[in-house]
Subunit: 333 residues, 2 copies
DNA sequence: CATAGCTTTTTCAACGTGGCAATAGGCAGA
DNA sequence: TCTGCCTATTGCCACGTTGAAAAAGCTATG
């Protein structure tokens, strides 16, 4: 059965299409009698508006896109969930794409779909693409997520990554750990990793301690296997770290696994702190001490800001929004 | 700058709107000269087609919806990732919603959006809604995912859950474990859990062993905390299980955590097998033995079938597609 | 009873695209 | 030169909806 349109309903109820539209939208100046007749026709024909047509007419799709490196990675999955909820409570649906951290794929997706009007705005956690490139590519409003540094003129929601990394590192140093490693450094400037490395160094400076550069281990990606490989490297090269700050929880979980496999104990031999507070860390053995960004607030603020931009509202807060975080101390450090 | 439309391009290139459309679609009967002029105008005005309009005209949105209980839960996150990739390779984008396992929310989402034409079809992993309800509600094609039983007339992609559960249980029994618990039973018929319980029982029967009903522990949900609570219950009530088959990996990870907290060892005191093969299980301590569905194949088949239905193709395979799985033996059992 | 002012309903057009069918131009063969 | 045929291009309309504004109906007031 072909879906019923306003016209069909109008015909059935003996009114014009416009009146049907008025009823559907709860326009006030409709007589009780007409409203009832139209309602009944709607129900009988099982009329549901064609949003495609509505969107074309109104220029709005009430869909936002979420673009992340990997939706299957726990942090982004959990964030995605919060964002879907934040968007839904405001009447928006969420189209998700992931880029695999590949800059070409990032750009390609954005170029291909941005003028499509399929979504009204984009939330994105860019792995490599720059803010200026985004501005050039995107012709819908966008709000940035994540730790990377951007021109402060861009809307951007994140926690204070330098402070958080410093807290995590400081927590280890204040326990008397003196060979604190950092896992997850990346070579290119402006990366998420470099921001966290700054915090790592600051914590050392604050206590007048020097960073042993051989304990700062870069990784290709931010996954468990990278953390495990980096940790194995640290242990096997005889660098004897007594603690490690990992730039995300997955690295930390991989690192813990490697520590265990080398017959060492967490936290007795090596203390571990992660970053992100994914659920997995609550139930790992030992449970993971980590930096917990307030995901709910991130999602709410990001969606709110994006919808404000979509609606062309003037925003009186600064573009850059800093969300609270806390250090959750559990068993691993 | 307002986005350019075909009309703007047509004006700039000195041709009709229809010719622009022809060029954009690579229609053959366009002279080299015209094609070049139009191309150039497109580039200059940065013309990108309004997909909303195209979709309205063509009745297709080239978007599919994915509806799962929780996108933030690892299994669904990882599945979502595979599905996004499968869809992308066929030129489709994916709109994701999650229902929290709430039947009203499930229905509400589907009713609200199904006739909207915002997506051409739905992949869904229903937690409670029945196939018949879906057929009544949805007026776009849909393909079911997940372990639940449905009328065989519905398109449905999943592994053989009974066989998989039996393999997992059999693996424990063949090690000589004789007090094998099951965690994750649910009270209502047709649930994912009950299907797996059948496999659990079958494995016992096959070896002529009786199931101790007190070892079959229901849980409210399928999360780590439920697994931990159920396991604690088993240990503290003195039921002395020597192994446990958990109905998903999260339950298993929670159970392992509880076992550890009670000072027992995995697998020496209690062996643990999970279900789903989420990445987390590879790096847990100990690593988790589990049933691994072929996620890639699930995603490919589900998307392929859905697109076939959308295109109205006749499908010569049966509606129900069974995807291979394997038992991955790791450290926990 | 004409006018004004209100409520209710309708008409018209447009959003940007693509399908259909028609038209205009070019060229070969009779 | 005319016919026929093929290529290149165009105009018109429809997809389903809603905004703007006009029209129709209704009541009140002088």
């Amino acid at each position: 059965m072909k879906a019923a349109t306003v016209k069909d309903v109008a015909l059935a109820a003996g009114v014009s299409a416009r009146t049907v539209s008025n009823v559907v939208h709860g326009y006030v100046h409709v007589s009780e009698d007409t409203r009832r007749r139209v309602q009944e026709a709607c129900d009988r024909l099982d009329y549901r508006p064609n949003l495609l047509a509505r969107n074309l007419r109104s220029g709005r799709s009430r869909v936002i896109a979420l673009v992340v490196p990997e939706i299957g990675s726990p942090y982004f999955g959990e964030l995605g969930q919060s964002i879907i909820e934040a968007a839904r409570s405001r009447g928006y649906a969420v189209l998700i794409d992931h880029t695999g951290g590949d800059i070409e794929q990032e750009k390609e997706f954005l170029v291909r779909s941005s003028a499509s009007r399929l979504f009204d705005g984009v939330l994105l956690s860019p792995s490599r693409v720059t803010g200026d490139e985004l501005r050039a590519i995107l012709d819908v409003p966008f709000v940035l997520l994540g730790p990377r540094l951007f021109d402060p003129a861009f809307d951007h929601v994140s926690i204070d990554n330098v402070a958080a990394a410093a807290e995590a590192t400081g927590h280890l140093l204040r326990q008397g750990r003196r060979r604190v490693a950092a896992i997850g450094e990346q070579r290119w400037g402006g990366s998420a990793a470099q921001i966290r490395t700054i915090g790592f160094r600051k914590a050392h400076e604050a206590l007048g301690l020097a960073v042993d550069e051989s304990l700062v281990v870069p990784t290709a990606r931010f996954k468990r296997e990278d953390g495990a490989a980096a940790m194995s490297h640290l242990i096997e090269s005889g660098l004897r770290p007594d603690a490690v700050f990992c730039f995300n929880d997955l690295l930390a979980l991989g690192a813990m696994r490697a520590i265990h496999q080398h017959g060492l104990r967490v936290p007795e031999d090596i203390a571990v702190v992660g970053f992100d507070n994914i659920e997995e860390g609550q139930y790992s053995t030992p449970s993971l001490t980590t930096i917990a960004p307030d995901r709910h607030v991130i999602a709410e603020l990001a969606v709110e800001r994006l919808l404000a931009r979509i609606d062309g509202e003037t925003v009186d807060q600064p573009p850059r929004l800093v969300v609270p975080h806390q250090l959750l101390v559990r068993e691993s450090a």
